[in-house]
């Protein structure tokens, strides 16, 4: 079975300082991993994805994440936070279905990022 653990439910940073949102996963197969962002009253938007190519993945809005198989981690980082980054972030793992078809997406519980002046 696959699972995702987001280690922090809330993270608060000052504008202009680095962001680190932590994610650990468990998967029986070679997984695909994603980070999604959800701004208040908005839909979910893909930030970036890892699908067994380069382990350092660059996404939109200056975010990036590094896949570390030995640590089963996929932490999300950004060098300098902006006020517009305040949102909820979800780490997602996907591997091929165990019962013959489809790829089940499993979400973490989310990390609320607060950016202060």
């Amino acid at each position: 079975a696959q699972s995702v653990t987001q280690l922090d439910s809330h993270v608060s940073v000052s504008e202009g300082t680095p962001v680190l949102l932590r994610c650990n996963y468990s998967s029986s197969y070679s997984p695909s991993l994603f980070w999604y962002v959800q701004h208040p009253n908005k839909g979910l938007q893909l930030l970036l994805k890892y699908t067994s190519a380069a382990t350092l993945v660059k996404g939109i809005n200056g975010f990036e994440a590094e896949f570390k198989k030995s640590e089963t981690s996929f932490h999300l980082t950004k060098p300098s936070a902006h006020m517009s980054d305040a949102a909820e972030y979800f780490c997602v793992v996907s591997d091929h279905g165990l019962t013959g078809g489809g790829n089940k997406l499993t979400f973490g519980t989310g990390t609320q990022l607060k950016v202060e002046l």
């Binding site: 987001q6 839909g43 979910l44 091929h96 489809g102 790829n103 089940k104 979400f107 519980t109």
Partner: protein, 115 residues
């Protein structure tokens, strides 16, 4: 522009009613999903489907059923709505041709209140 469309943004239903939530995607995706989103719990998978007439239970299928008669449409059914099913419901779709798991596209969500 790719699109996943959920039929309602807001719904209010009474306890015991049968409730249908509809989702349509225009991307010819094989896979479709229904999640519910609750504060502090993230998104939890209710059911998913990887082909027409195929369905698989997710993590919290109790009290729900689904229907996928056409590739583009995936319906979530609350057989007898209860107050603990008050939540935001999100539909998503993606493709996994060649076993590569692709980005999932989400609808805007349906906020269901059961009174």
């Amino acid at each position: 522009d790719v699109k996943v469309t959920q039929s309602s943004r807001y719904l209010v239903k009474r306890t015991g009613e049968k409730v249908f939530l509809e989702c349509v995607q225009d991307m010819d995706h094989e896979n479709m999903f229904w999640y519910r989103q609750d504060p502090g719990l993230g998104l939890r998978l209710i059911y998913f489907s990887y082909d027409v007439k195929m369905k698989e239970k997710g993590d919290i299928p109790e009290g729900y059923s689904v229907s996928r008669e056409k590739k583009e449409r995936f319906s979530l059914i609350l057989e007898s709505a209860s107050t603990n099913q008050t939540s935001m419901y999100l539909c998503a779709s993606n493709s996994d041709r060649a076993w590569v798991n692709t980005e999932a596209f989400f609808g805007q969500g349906t906020r269901l209140t059961v009174v």
